[in-house]
Amino acid sequence: MTTSENYKTKKFEILLCLLLFALWTIPAVFIDKPEIKVLGIPLLWFYYITLSFITSLVITLMYLLDER
């Protein structure tokens, strides 16, 4: 590398990233139960719709709280 860079990723951002990967993958094995419904929506779909909102919120909050 010819030039060193100042931009550093924060540790909590990496941890959040790993946590979100886990939340998007591991529960798939346990929640694919169409007989369980939340607000009339099958559990699997409800979980992933909610998780989509949470993921977007996390990215938005990371941006809003970022002081760089």
Partner: protein
């Protein structure tokens, strides 16, 4: 002329006019960074809509509904691909952008050259990026052709008109480079979001009164479609991980990243793009289920969105959706063409000929290659239409093998070309070898990445412990004595 076709053609011609006008307004001086990365000057709104239009192609627009029509809940992987992709992008893209800005990097391969100081690796990455993007452009021509066929009721030679539309795109990319691409994509990105969200919501409300009604209707017709049962859980999990990690490895996307004005625009863009998924892809995935619940018979699953909108709201709605689909396809094709051409000139032609091109020459050669790649994609669209999906899957798998070089290299400073090149080659070989097979239900791209990282780790350990040096010395001794 059918109304739907007229709306679609008007949109295509209007986008061509916007692109050509943008070229006249903005590209007066032929500077390479203006032509290739829009002078790194895009503010939040233009950057956001340009990125959305370049990233989401006909594959998302038509394929999102088509995949859920065929495989039900397994299509949720598409939400994860983008949303996790933006999380990865949020923590890696600012670093890549600031490095590119400081060192005047224009392509993904430029970044790789800067990071590893290896011309071999740079050329390798450029070749992988260019070759694996050829079917992607071809796929966009085919998507436009499908939409033209539906909106005209198969009364026109759809593929010929699609190629004409594509040539319109080539014209404005040729004239204005990234400036024309970005300004046209503002129009395209907004149109896509409006049609994906508006079209899907209107259909779901009209026929099912909301999501609970939709799921009940699907369960009555085909219960498996509300579960992951049509694909295995191993497939779902490995696809989510593989496609999310692969999200920022496409050289086109890195080039779009470089167009941002500053790091804040990148981070804000990631947040906005994640909401684009909530309003777009999440809804369009439900359209496949709606089509299934209504019992519509389709010639091809990818026709789901256009057919159901036509059924629900008639010709004008079909025209708008077809225009949105054309926007998605043509905007992606435009960005890819520019990236393929500039990567070939900077990262393959320059090192192989040992020439350092000036700005004018670089733009000149890039323009020639834009024409060349558009001719190749057009020929393939006519001669190899059935290869599309297969080649796309192979492309995505091949591109994922760049993950260690681009992303791991950011956090792991001692990683060098001596580990990256053998790992990359191993990953590519595994992906090609496992093409179309899924051992243990896991997609080939993840087996490739596993092999890639394993080789990389082994070589790293060997290098750190001096094992390689010992082998080299032993080899010298053997040569001396035998």
């Amino acid at each position: 002329m059918p109304l739907a076709l007229a709306i679609m053609l008007f949109t295509i011609v209007a986008s061509g006019a916007i692109g050509v006008t943008a070229a006249k307004l903005k590209v007066k001086a032929l500077r390479a960074d203006t032509y290739i990365v829009a002078g790194r000057a895009l503010g939040t709104l233009v950057y956001f809509l340009n990125a959305a239009a370049a990233i989401y192609s006909g594959y998302t627009f038509l394929g999102g509904a088509g995949f859920s029509y065929k495989f039900g809940a397994a299509a949720i992987f598409m939400w994860a691909t983008s949303l996790l992709g933006y999380v990865v992008g949020y923590i890696t893209a600012p670093y890549i952008w600031s490095t590119a800005k400081k060192n005047n990097l224009l392509t993904l391969s430029d970044y790789i050259m800067w990071r590893y100081q290896s011309k071999l690796l740079m050329v390798l990455v450029a070749i992988i990026s260019v070759i694996f993007n050829v079917p992607y452009v071809q796929m966009q021509i085919r998507s436009v052709s499908i939409l033209l066929g539906i909106s005209s009721g198969d009364t026109i030679p759809a593929l010929h008109v699609a190629v004409f539309s594509f040539l319109l795109v080539v014209l404005y990319v040729f004239l204005g480079g990234m400036v024309s691409v970005a300004i046209t994509n503002v129009f395209f990105g907004a149109l896509m979001l409006a049609t994906m969200f508006g079209g899907s919501l209107a259909v779901i409300l009209k026929y099912f009164g909301g999501l609970p009604g939709l799921y009940s209707a699907v369960e009555a017709v085909s219960p498996q479609h509300v579960t992951l049962g049509l694909k295995s859980e191993a497939w779902f999990i490995s696809t989510v991980i593989g496609t999310a990690l692969n999200f920022w490895l496409w050289s086109t996307r890195i080039q779009v990243l470089y167009t941002a004005r500053d790091v804040k625009v990148i981070r804000r863009g990631m947040a906005l793009l994640s909401w684009y998924i909530i309003l777009g892809t999440v809804w369009i995935t439900h359209i496949g289920l709606a089509t299934r619940a209504l019992g519509l018979r389709l010639e091809d699953p990818d026709y789901a969105f256009a057919r159901i909108v036509n059924l629900a709201y008639g010709d004008i709605a079909l025209g708008l959706v077809a225009a949105g689909g054309a926007a998605a396809s043509l905007s992606t094709a435009a960005a890819i063409l520019l990236d393929q051409a500039s990567s070939t000139v900077r990262n393959i032609y320059e090192p192989l000929t040992r020439r350092r091109l000036g700005d004018r020459e670089l733009v000149y050669f890039t323009r020639i290659l834009i024409i060349m790649y558009s001719v190749i994609s057009t020929i393939l669209a006519y001669t190899q239409p059935s290869l599309l999906v297969d080649l796309y899957l192979l492309s995505a798998s091949g591109v994922l093998q760049l993950f260690p070089a681009l992303v791991m290299g950011i956090f792991w400073r001692s990683l060098s070309k001596y580990e990256i090149i053998p790992g990359l080659l191993t990953g590519e070989v595994v992906v090609v070898y496992l093409y179309k097979s899924e051992p243990l239900g896991v997609v080939p791209m993840m087996w490739g990445l596993l092999a890639n990282i394993s080789v990389l780790l082994l070589l790293h350990v060997a290098r750190r412990t001096g094992l390689l040096k010992a082998i080299h010395q032993l080899n010298s001794v053997l040569k001396l004595h035998f």
